[in-house]
């Protein structure tokens, strides 16, 4: 890639005042660096990944409202986690976390366990119990 070909597309990097560094070749064939504001093919991939997470979160929300899963699954998706990551944060086996997705099991969870989840999601136990709060 030539230095003057380093893409300067619009991206959400701008919001945080970040420019990323590329290695590119100048007119004398010498390698140098150049900052970039973003590149569309990458922005589209990132946007799609975010949309995918939003969809997953929305599906989880509907499942909570239909009482087919517990709010833990909803908050997990909201925080871009999967079961493995969440299990690692709460320090439990993945199967136990998955079991807590069952509304009947969730209802019986003790205060201490609920608080653990709430802390990880940075919310109160009330919010954990009711996703509308």
């Amino acid at each position: 890639m030539k230095k003057n070909e380093v893409p300067q597309d619009k991206s959400n990097l701008e919001s945080a005042n970040i420019k990323e560094m590329y290695y590119a070749v100048d007119e004398n064939g010498e390698y140098t660096t150049e900052l970039s504001t973003g590149w569309d093919p990458k922005t589209i991939a990132l946007d799609n990944a975010i949309k995918d997470i939003e969809e997953r979160t929305e599906i989880a929300k509907q499942k909570v409202l239909n009482n087919t899963t517990s709010p833990i699954e909803y908050y997990m998706e909201l925080h871009k986690m999967d079961v493995g990551i969440l299990a690692s944060y709460v320090g439990m086996w993945a199967w136990r976390v998955k079991r807590h997705f069952k509304p009947s099991v969730f209802k019986k969870l003790n205060k201490k366990t609920l608080q653990k989840y709430a802390d990880i999601f940075d919310i109160t136990v009330e919010q954990l119990k009711d996703i509308h709060k």
Binding site: M1, Y23, L35, I44, L46, A49
Partner: protein, 331 residues
């Protein structure tokens, strides 16, 4: 306290931390030189590891290995520490800052507040330098940022103790011993040979064979997984390739810069020619990203589209195989 530390932006965080810490200790080594000597370049497919619900491909060596190899090959000794509790981690960090010693930290990105929200995934192999503490805030030199920044004690603790794959566990590292003079020549040759060996390895999930494997999978994904998942997987490949820190083209351009610098140090013209060749291969990776993005942009791709990008990867694999064979002979 604030340590007199020069922050220099780099493309990739690990190279950047090493390059900046070396400069602090009186050794000027460029980012591409760290990357090349540390054999950072790679291609690998990790089917057993899923990130964001998609299989992982990586264009670089495992986190930490670049610095380890660089250190071993140049005679630098690194001290690495991990911690069972946040209190111990903080105490050791503070003690180092008191001693005027800036340190590298491995951190998670998800709670890194100065990153844009969209970029904050559960990725735990980011690197930064802490070079002081002022008014209760840690002074941070993050190599991918243009300027230095700072984090509160709480914010730093959160990223040092992020959980999930590659959890940092407070991981802190810094060089403790240096050679009298940095001998680059031998180190460069070792670094290049290692990369050539990895890229032409006779195993299916590493190097050019892994690129071919991914090409084959891309052809199958739409029928086997459905268009939506196929596009999600394809998008993840492009994101890994062009993520902040790659310098563009899945690290191939940084490697081109390394070979150019190496050709001058070793007085080897062949390396300069090969630098041009890997740059062209980097351009092919970029073309692949452009065409792949056309597929997942429309969300309604034809099978032809997938086959076309798969063909592109197969071509890249052939070219990289020839390239690394030549490179091996050139040193």
């Amino acid at each position: 306290m604030e340590i007199n530390f020069t922050h220099k932006q780099s493309a990739h965080c690990e190279n950047g931390v090493v390059s900046n810490l070396m400069r602090f200790n009186g050794f000027e080594v460029s980012e591409p030189m760290v990357f090349g000597i540390g054999s950072g370049l790679l291609f690998s497919y990790l089917p057993f590891l899923k990130v964001n619900h998609a299989p992982v491909v990586t264009y670089r060596a495992m986190p930490g290995t670049i610095f380890n190899r660089f250190a071993k090959r140049t005679g630098v000794i690194i001290k690495r520490e991990k911690f069972s509790t946040a209190q111990k981690a903080k105490a050791r960090l503070d003690a180092n800052l008191e001693k005027n010693n800036p340190v590298g930290l491995q951190v998670g990105v998800y709670n890194l507040v100065y990153f844009p929200e969209e970029y904050r995934f559960h990725f735990n192999a980011h690197n930064m330098v802490v070079y002081g503490k002022k008014d209760g805030r840690y002074l941070i030199s993050d190599p991918v940022m243009e300027e230095v920044t700072s984090l509160s004690e709480k914010e730093l603790e959160k990223v040092r103790f992020a959980k999930g794959a590659f959890a940092p566990k407070g991981h802190m590292y810094y060089p403790i011993e240096f050679p009298e003079k940095l001998e680059l020549k031998k180190a460069i040759v070792k670094g290049i040979k290692h990369t050539c060996k990895d890229m032409t390895a006779p195993v299916p999930l590493v190097g050019v064979k892994a690129i071919r494997k991914i090409a084959k999978l891309i052809r199958k994904w739409p029928a086997k997984k459905g268009v939506k998942t196929a596009n999600h997987y394809l998008g993840q490949i492009v994101r890994m390739q062009e993520e902040i820190g790659t310098g563009g083209g899945g690290f191939r351009y940084i490697y081109g810069a390394f070979l150019q610098e190496a050709s001058k140090i070793l007085e080897n013209d062949q390396l300069s020619t090969l630098s041009k060749e890997i740059t062209q291969i980097g351009d092919l990776w970029r073309d692949f990203a452009v065409d792949a993005s056309r597929i997942y942009k429309n969300r309604s791709a034809t099978e032809d589209g997938y086959n076309k990008v798969a063909d592109q990867l197969a071509t890249i694999a052939d070219k990289e195989e020839a390239f690394f064979k030549k490179l091996k002979k050139a040193v």
